[in-house]
């Protein structure tokens, strides 16, 4: 469904302390603005559209959407890692703009561009870059483990390349984060997320019983594979979802070394291991993964 996008004048009225307000992007139920807050800091103002029954959504779907937004904010509050986007100065609040309701809050505004824009570009990223991105993603996963969440949407489009020395990469969008011991928000047999980066176990009917951090590890390693090779092993070209699902479930990806013979074999094997179909074959402990990554560096 197309969501109504509030205009900047409406937002300015709501947030009189903000300056230089401008529209950035929208996707799903979310609209993002850029603004300078009352103390001169640039922030991303996020407005999540809360649909009504007139939008054709059932009350439980609306409730799920609100709960998901609240969960995203709750998860961000718990995060301490610089690898994860931070909440901004605007505390979440429900507002009515015209006839529409939005949940509005702010996050830090990160400069730079999403990693996805570098995928498939020449020159191909070198080992130092790939190691830096993967190490950053492992840090994200460790933070998720610490706060007992799964990110569930790790992909190049959600990784911001900031150009900031202390925080070169930051993960965005915890919109579908899963609370490990929390109440189920998703109804039905398919989890939310981006199919191309979804671990095979998430496509099984009993995914809620089997998913753990290893599905984030899979998505992270798949992102590195794609970044390194310029190819997505399961969706090399646009095709229907059924074909992608088949490949995710059944096809074994080409070993990364076949695409990048210039990279250390050990690094390629680490990535290959993290995208195994059976989660038990991936790393079950991040310390073992970090140990193996350190050996590559040495």
């Amino acid at each position: 469904m197309r969501i109504p996008i509030p205009n900047t004048e409406q937002i300015k009225l709501l947030l009189p302390d903000c300056a230089e307000l401008s529209y950035v992007a929208s996707g799903g139920f979310k609209v993002v603005f850029r603004a300078v807050n009352g103390v001169g800091k640039v922030e991303a103002i996020k407005a999540i559209y809360i649909p009504s029954e007139s939008d054709g959504l059932a009350p439980e779907q609306i409730a799920q959407l609100v709960a998901r937004a609240q969960r995203e904010i709750a998860a961000l509050r718990l995060c301490r890692s610089p690898s994860i986007v931070k909440l901004g100065s605007l505390a979440p609040k429900l507002v009515t703009l015209g006839s529409c309701t939005y949940l509005i809050y702010s996050e830090e505004f990160l400069p730079g561009q999403p990693l996805v824009e570098g995928v498939g570009k020449q020159p191909q990223p070198d080992l130092t870059t790939l190691m830096a991105v993967f190490t950053f993603l492992v840090d994200v996963i460790e933070e998720m483990i610490r706060i007992q969440y799964l990110h569930r949407d790790i992909k190049p489009a959600n990784i911001m390349v900031t150009g900031i020395a202390e925080r070169p990469y930051v993960i965005l969008d915890m919109g579908i984060a899963y609370k490990v011991h929390g109440t189920e928000l998703t109804q039905g047999a398919t989890p939310p997320g981006t199919l191309r980066y979804m671990a095979p176990e998430l496509l099984s009917p009993d995914y809620k019983d089997v998913m753990d951090f290893r599905c984030d590890l899979y998505s992270a390693a798949l992102s590195i594979y794609e970044l390194a090779s310029g190819l997505h092993p399961f969706a090399p070209k646009p095709e229907n979802d059924y074909a992608t699902i088949y490949r995710i479930m059944k096809e074994r990806p080409e070993p990364l070394e076949n695409h990048r013979g210039d990279l250390p074999l050990q690094f390629c094997r680490i990535i290959d291991r993290c995208i195994k179909k059976n989660p038990a074959l991936r790393y079950a402990r991040t310390d073992l993964l970090c140990h193996d990554l350190q050996e590559v560096q040495q």
Binding site: D212, N278, R285
Partner: protein, 399 residues
């Protein structure tokens, strides 16, 4: 890969000699055949020899308590060996006390190099019992920590029916759960139970020598070892090299058929009693088989490389004793594993496959020489090993 002795009935001085001859690297002692009062004595006799000693608490045999035909030996003399009410296993309240008690029993013997946690037998991967067993495994290290045991590794027992290994998705889920424990043990002591027995109460070898079972057992070793666990396989006998290629720390074998192939049936008296004593056998690495002594003599005459060329071969020049048979088994396994297990899974599996192909050829030559009896069964076992390796590669997603 290390070879351990699988302890059982009538050990005599076999363990001492095995350690002294350096054909075994340690032993998995049996609580069933070791009375707690006499345990120290035995451990003391093993002490002068270098080796790792573990005690299998055999808690899984508590399911036989109270059965009129139960065969539990000294197990009921051990403090921890009593069956808690099932409801307390399901709720988990009985689990920590059982583990604590089993550890306390083992800690009385300072010679033990690690602690083996008790567990129950898993008949089916998606059963309540599997959940209980996972709880035992998840609690083992936790209990050791509360007891301030920091100087000995903790091995969780993983005792599975062979059917679990061939169950597909439930088996994968079990492996997923085993590797994702929040307080994992340091290692695992793995036993794979066969179910079928022949009319004399003997285990049917093809129950374990089945491609899915072999592949599953290899997968357990692979998944656990790549995740940093030490895996000790009980009763793995001639499958030890296959498990070693997949990362196993140790395999074990003993002097009786029940110590070379595990079954819960060992805790139940067979319907048929008596019968003749098992024949002395020789483990031929070239044939990848355990052959009767008379066959060894016959086959060697047409195919000298049936002999392993080890010092223990001399025992077969005259009347061979049971202890000598054990030494020969361990020496042969040791040599086989040294040749097949080099920490490079790709080349190790290829080496084993090469040996299987050669073994098939040797059996053909033996059959062509007129010794056809039993050859078909050996072909089948070799075929199961070869298919098991192939299936393992698929399950382990190895290219």
């Amino acid at each position: 890969m290390k070879i351990f002795a699988q302890d059982g009935y009538g050990p005599g001085e076999k363990l001492e000699q095995g350690l002294s001859d350096k054909v075994i690297d340690g032993a998995v002692l049996s609580a069933r055949y070791r009375h707690p009062e006499k345990f120290t004595e035995k451990a003391d006799s093993l002490l002068p020899h270098e080796g790792e000693l573990l005690l299998d608490p055999e808690f899984y045999a508590t399911s036989s308590i109270g059965k009129p035909n139960a065969k539990l030996g000294s197990l009921e003399e051990w403090d921890y060996f009593s069956a808690p009410r099932r409801s307390t296993l399901i709720t988990g309240t009985a689990i920590q006390p059982v583990i604590r008690s089993a550890f306390e029993s083992q800690l009385r013997f300072e010679h033990l190099s690690g602690l083996v946690a008790p567990n129950i037998y898993i008949e089916s991967a998606d059963s309540i019992d599997a959940g209980i067993a996972l709880n035992f495994i998840g609690q083992a290290k936790l209990v050791a920590k509360t007891m301030d045991v920091t100087d000995k590794p903790v091995f969780a027992s993983l005792v599975l029916s062979r059917d679990v290994l061939a169950s597909g998705a439930p088996f994968d889920d079990l492996l997923g759960a085993l590797t994702a424990l929040s307080t994992p043990p340091d290692g695992f002591y793995v036993l794979i139970g066969s179910g079928a027995v022949d009319e004399d109460g003997r285990h049917i070898r093809s129950d374990i020598y089945h491609d899915h079972v072999i592949a599953g057992w290899m997968l357990i070793n692979y998944v656990l070892s790549i995740n940093g666990f030490k895996v000790i396989n009980g009763c793995s006998d001639l499958l030890s090299p296959l498990l070693g290629a997949c990362g196993a720390y140790a395999g074990a074998s003993g002097w009786a058929s029940s110590l070379r192939q595990f079954s819960m049936g060992r805790y139940i008296k067979p319907a048929a009693q008596g019968g003749s004593a098992p024949l002395i056998r020789y483990v031929s690495n070239a044939l990848l088989a355990r052959i009767k002594q008379t066959d060894y003599d016959n086959y060697s005459s047409v195919l000298p490389l049936v002999s392993n060329g080890l010092p223990s071969d001399k025992y077969y020049e005259g009347e061979t004793t049971r202890p000598q048979e054990s030494i020969q088994t361990w020496a042969a396994l040791n040599k086989l594993c040294a040749e097949c297990c080099t920490d490079d899974i790709t080349s190790d599996l290829a080496t084993i496959e090469g040996r299987i192909t050669k073994a098939v050829g040797y059996w053909s030559r033996i059959a062509e020489s007129g010794f056809t009896s039993g050859v078909e069964a050996h072909y089948e076992h070799l075929e199961a090993m070869r298919d098991g390796i192939s299936l393992f590669r698929k399950w382990a997603e190895l290219t």
